[in-house]
Symmetry: C2
């Protein structure tokens, strides 16, 4: 479909067409498009920009990643489709392992998402074999890799389901989420929820990570002082401001 | 996919699976799933219920439909997929013509959506032939039926694109929208925007319509007094309340 560049939502429409194309290729699940739409709505309420509170959360997430012993970044179909290069680059910078972890899991889709990431430059991916289990999830989504999520102390979950986020937190892991819905169970279960659009949030976390690499005191201060409750309140306020400004 | 009934978003997940299935059947466009997701997010901010301001807007929309000379209800893939029976029932109650009118138009999809509606009980559908044009839209989406949208004085547009909503208003038609985003160009361009989920809004409009059928003075009072600007402000306030209550 031809999209007119004059359309006020041109960029958003191009991303939509791209995500739809990735459904045809089997990388993104059909219901992944619905999740993408939910994100679009919340991003609209942020004015499609990284607000100060989200930037602060990105910095705290970077601090946690640098302090981790076994950090893992999970990747589902939407995260791969929207931000493969960014996630691969962030994983190298930490360094962290990448684990492909799908809500709608089938061996074929796992393979497609893995290949998509490998074509984008990923190596040493986890997730083709998931033979460990997380307790507290009543489905296939409990599956994880024994050397990945199962062994991790810190897990960055971009665009993750609430069940799994809660199970990861219950398993004692530090959960860092990237999620545009400040009311979601994922955002609430996280130690740090970065409420920002994925392609803005991921490079921003990497930027902070590079800045914080030689600042261990600053990292520990950020971790000690960060309150996710306060963060989510600031994000909810930012969305209300947009609801009133645009009126 | 098996969905656990314990999942807090069970109903929403079932609708998602159904909409995905309708993509496979060619009734819903892939990017229609993204639009559905946007709606889900805004509905979440309404607490997934018809708030008083939305109910008042539904009553005003019913009044306009009863006062119309040539009312038309447009139906796209998402509207058909979510609420075919409700829209057919409302059209009979007014009575109004139904016109199939797609954002992603192809003869095959038009035929599929028409058949889907006819299987649900629709007759006398418009939209297979669209040989008239609306001015002010730079695409195929300008197309409409000469006996339908082109001739209508009042058009009810569930889940419609902003370009077309603005073009309909510019063509002098009374635009009644059903749209969950109170900031959308569609909601703003409308004479009445019912900011409510489709399967709640449509039967609610029909209920008001039946009540108002023998109350012409009440209808005219509703029309004279309704302010869409005030309506949208109340809807934005309702969403902010949810953002704060859930914190």
């Amino acid at each position: 479909m031809e999209i007119s560049k004059d359309h006020p939502r041109y960029r958003s429409l191009v991303t939509r067409e791209r995500m739809s194309e990735l459904v045809r290729e089997g990388v993104v699940a059909p219901t992944g498009l619905i999740a993408h739409g939910r994100g679009e709505a919340f991003d609209y309420l942020l004015g499609e920009r990284t607000v100060p509170a989200a930037n602060h959360a990105a910095r705290a997430a970077a601090a946690y990643l640098l302090e981790a012993e076994s950090p893992v970044i999970t990747v589902n179909g939407n995260a791969a489709g929207l931000c493969a290069e960014g996630l691969i680059s962030l994983a190298r910078a930490v360094p962290a392992r990448l684990e492909v972890n799908l809500f709608h899991r089938s061996p074929e889709r796992v393979e497609r998402v893995c290949r998509y990431l490998e074509n984008a430059g990923a190596s040493d991916l986890l997730g083709r074999e998931q033979d460990a289990w997380l307790e507290g999830i009543a489905s296939d989504r409990a599956r994880c890799a024994v050397d990945g999520i199962r062994a991790a102390d810190v897990v960055l979950i971009p665009l993750e389901d609430g069940d799994r986020a809660a199970a990861l937190a219950a398993a004692g892991k530090v959960v860092l989420a990237i999620d545009l819905n400040p009311l979601s169970r994922t955002a609430v279960a996280a130690k740090v929820a970065v409420v920002d659009e994925l392609t803005r949030a991921v490079p921003n976390i990497e930027r902070h990570l590079i800045e914080l690499r030689d600042l261990p005191d600053e990292r520990r201060r950020l971790i000690a002082e960060f309150s996710n409750e306060q963060n989510l309140e600031r994000m909810r306020n930012a969305m209300c401001e947009t609801l009133h400004q645009k009126g």
